[in-house]
């Protein structure tokens, strides 16, 4: 059973080179293997979620080396939930990429897609900070390839900015890891949690710098203002299925913040007191406001969606920065919602691009399949803007409810509610310009170079909608589950004792002779 944990990493890691080496000339075979791999990942993720649902924590020691010395993979409720979310998202995104033909517009889409999954799943499952860095790099280097998939000058240009920004982020991450190692002598998360708590009050300078650097790195990933500048152009220029998959990448940053700042630097730790409520919460509120104002200001549909992603990450971070079990539970509920909604909107924007050739927010003659696309955009926009009846509204209610006891409650309520209004206006304006005003301009010329989107593309978006509706209908069950996840995060004794006290292989110099 314990070996199951590493399978979500090993499976795509083997599938990707196989696709490159054995199937690089046959797009059909690539598609079959890629989809089969993702379906297997979903099965694995369901198995892992089921295995930890009774509160147990699974762990895997690589090469069986004992914990603080060897690398461990740990699967608790939070990790497995994120693994499941990633693999479900990946399936529909992959179906869309196949249906719309995006995967055949450049080389090695499926191999890069599998490497990307390997990096994301590894980041969720690892129990070691340096290993987290390595998996970040794996997911980043795959994302560089995916981001410039199918080429084009604008995309390459945005790709350069994206790569350079993330390289600086990686360098910061290494500086943070170096200072953490210099202060504590370990990089295992459970071991770190114990040692950081032991640092005396006068000697916290190094560890405080490390905590802030680490927060900056994760904030870059999560696109929190003022570190969000990489997101709009890279998400807007990336191929739509890739942008939809990237919807989970910002959540990797959110996950890392939840994990590290509940476990290693918990809110009641004296050394890093004030980091959450004094710095993270205002930054999150500003990103929420900036994101939604960006929705109103955007002149192209893809930029609009990218800014709505920033806004929704702001909402997630508002809930996270409360650092209470209620707040984290609300954040996790909203993370699932915003991943699905963001992916849906990016895929719909690709339908619009297929239908009329560009994404400018100007009135143009109606495109093919306009009724279906318009209907889906309407529902997707409702979800993202957080109107009833979909899960965005419930998530927002949960966040508002969780913030009730916080110091900045007035600010949280004011910004969450007014930014919702702004985003409703922004989405309504975009929708009416793109879909309604089109009918005033007469029918489209029949010989235009645009094509009707494929059926499989609609199936993929429909599947994501089904997930979103299920997330709404079973909101009570999901929220109950995220509440247990959050409670477990604040009482991580099982995790700690399991990782640190289970005996593993140790190097014994006498035995070697």
């Amino acid at each position: 059973m314990t070996h199951w944990i590493i399978l979500p990493i090993v499976l795509p890691a083997f599938l990707a080179p196989f696709i490159v080496l054995a199937a690089r000339h046959h797009i059909g075979i690539q598609r079959v293997f890629s989809v089969a791999g993702v379906v297997a990942l979903i099965a694995l993720a369901l198995g892992l979620v089921w295995a930890v649902s009774d509160g147990s924590v699974l762990y895997y020691r690589l090469s069986n080396w004992a914990a603080p010395f060897g690398i461990v993979l740990v699967a608790d409720r939070l990790s497995t939930l994120m693994v499941l979310l990633t693999s479900v998202l990946a399936l529909f995104v992959l179906l869309y990429a196949i249906g719309s033909g995006w995967d055949s517009r450049g080389r090695h889409f499926h191999a890069l897609f599998q490497f990307q999954l390997m990096g994301i799943l590894g980041a969720f499952l690892t129990g070691d900070l340096f290993n987290l860095f390595v998996f970040f790099e794996v997911l980043l280097i795959a994302s560089y390839g995916l981001m410039i998939h199918a080429g084009g000058n604008a995309r390459l240009k945005a790709g350069v900015q994206y790569v350079l920004f993330n390289l600086i982020g990686s360098t910061l991450f290494l500086f943070a890891l170096g200072s953490i190692y210099a202060e504590t002598g370990t990089l295992n998360m459970a071991d770190l949690a114990q040692r950081v708590a032991l640092i005396g009050a006068e000697e916290t300078v190094g560890i405080r710098i490390a905590a802030v650097l680490l927060l900056l790195v994760f904030a870059i990933k999560a696109a929190i203002v003022p570190l969000h500048f990489w997101l709009p152009s890279s998400y807007a220029e990336a191929p739509a299925p890739v942008a939809a998959l990237f919807a989970i990448m910002t959540k990797v940053g959110a996950y890392a913040i939840i994990r590290v700042y509940t476990m290693i630097f918990p809110p009641n730790l004296e050394a890093t007191m004030g980091l959450h409520d004094l710095w993270l919460l205002p930054a999150a509120l500003v990103s929420l406001a900036i994101g939604m104002i960006g929705v109103l200001a955007a002149r192209k549909l893809d930029r609009l969606i990218a800014f709505s992603i920033i806004g929704s990450m702001g909402m997630v971070m508002v809930a996270i920065s409360l650092f209470s079990p209620v707040g984290i539970a609300a954040a996790l509920y909203y993370i699932i919602h915003s991943t699905l909604a963001g992916a849906i909107l990016f895929l719909i924007s690709d339908l619009v691009r297929t239908g009329r050739g560009n994404l400018d927010l100007t009135a143009q003659p109606p495109m093919r399949g306009t009724h279906m696309t318009a209907g889906m955009f309407f529902v997707g926009a409702i979800a993202m803007a957080g109107l009833p009846p979909l899960s965005g509204f419930l998530g927002k209610l949960l966040v508002l409810d969780a913030s009730y006891g916080a110091d900045l409650v007035v600010w949280v309520w004011a910004i969450v509610l007014s930014s919702s209004l702004i985003s409703v206006i922004g989405f309504a304006r975009a929708g009416s310009v793109v879909f309604w005003k089109a009918h005033g301009l007469g029918p489209m010329e029949p010989d235009a170079e645009t094509a009707r989107p494929a059926t499989l593309a609609y199936v993929a978006i429909g599947g994501l909608f089904a997930m979103l509706i299920a997330h709404t209908v079973f909101a009570e069950k999901v929220h109950a589950y995220t509440t247990t996840v959050a409670t477990e995060l604040f009482a991580h004794d099982t995790y700690m004792s399991l990782v640190l006290e289970t005996p593993g292989k140790l190097s014994d110099p006498k035995e070697a002779h």
């Binding site: 280097i141 790709g159 350079l164 390289l167 360098t171 290494l174 190692y181 210099a182």
Partner: protein
């Protein structure tokens, strides 16, 4: 020794940040390389500075150097090497495609004039 290592990290980081803040891809990539060199030396220093001591257990040796930072640095070197290669290729593609090596977005009017 401490002064030498500390000032090496400081000078490399300063030069790296200065170059990263330039707006053309070539100096930015050079700056990124300098920053990765700085961080590699920094990682070495995180295991305390020891001269001439082995990292692996041996008979008759009492002082050891910490082997973990060396492993970390090795990983970091490999990763930054790969990343630099990727960014050079992508920015070369972007430069050859649009005949413009600015990292930031140029105002649209001037950009289109140059190309036409």
């Amino acid at each position: 020794m401490e002064l030498l290592v500390a000032s090496a990290i400081g000078v490399l980081t300063t030069a790296g940040i200065y170059l990263v803040l330039r707006l053309r891809t070539f100096p930015v990539i050079l700056g990124m390389s300098l920053l990765t060199y700085a961080v590699n030396i920094f990682l070495f220093a995180s295991g305390r500075l020891t001269i001439g001591a082995p990292p692996i257990l041996q008979d008759g040796v009492t002082t050891y150097t910490d082997p973990v930072p060396q492993a970390l640095v090795l990983t970091a070197i490999v990763i930054s090497f790969g990343m630099t290669a990727v960014v050079v290729m992508i920015s070369l593609g972007a430069y050859l495609g649009s005949d413009d090596d600015h990292v930031d977005d140029q105002p649209e009017a001037t950009g289109s004039e140059e190309r036409s």
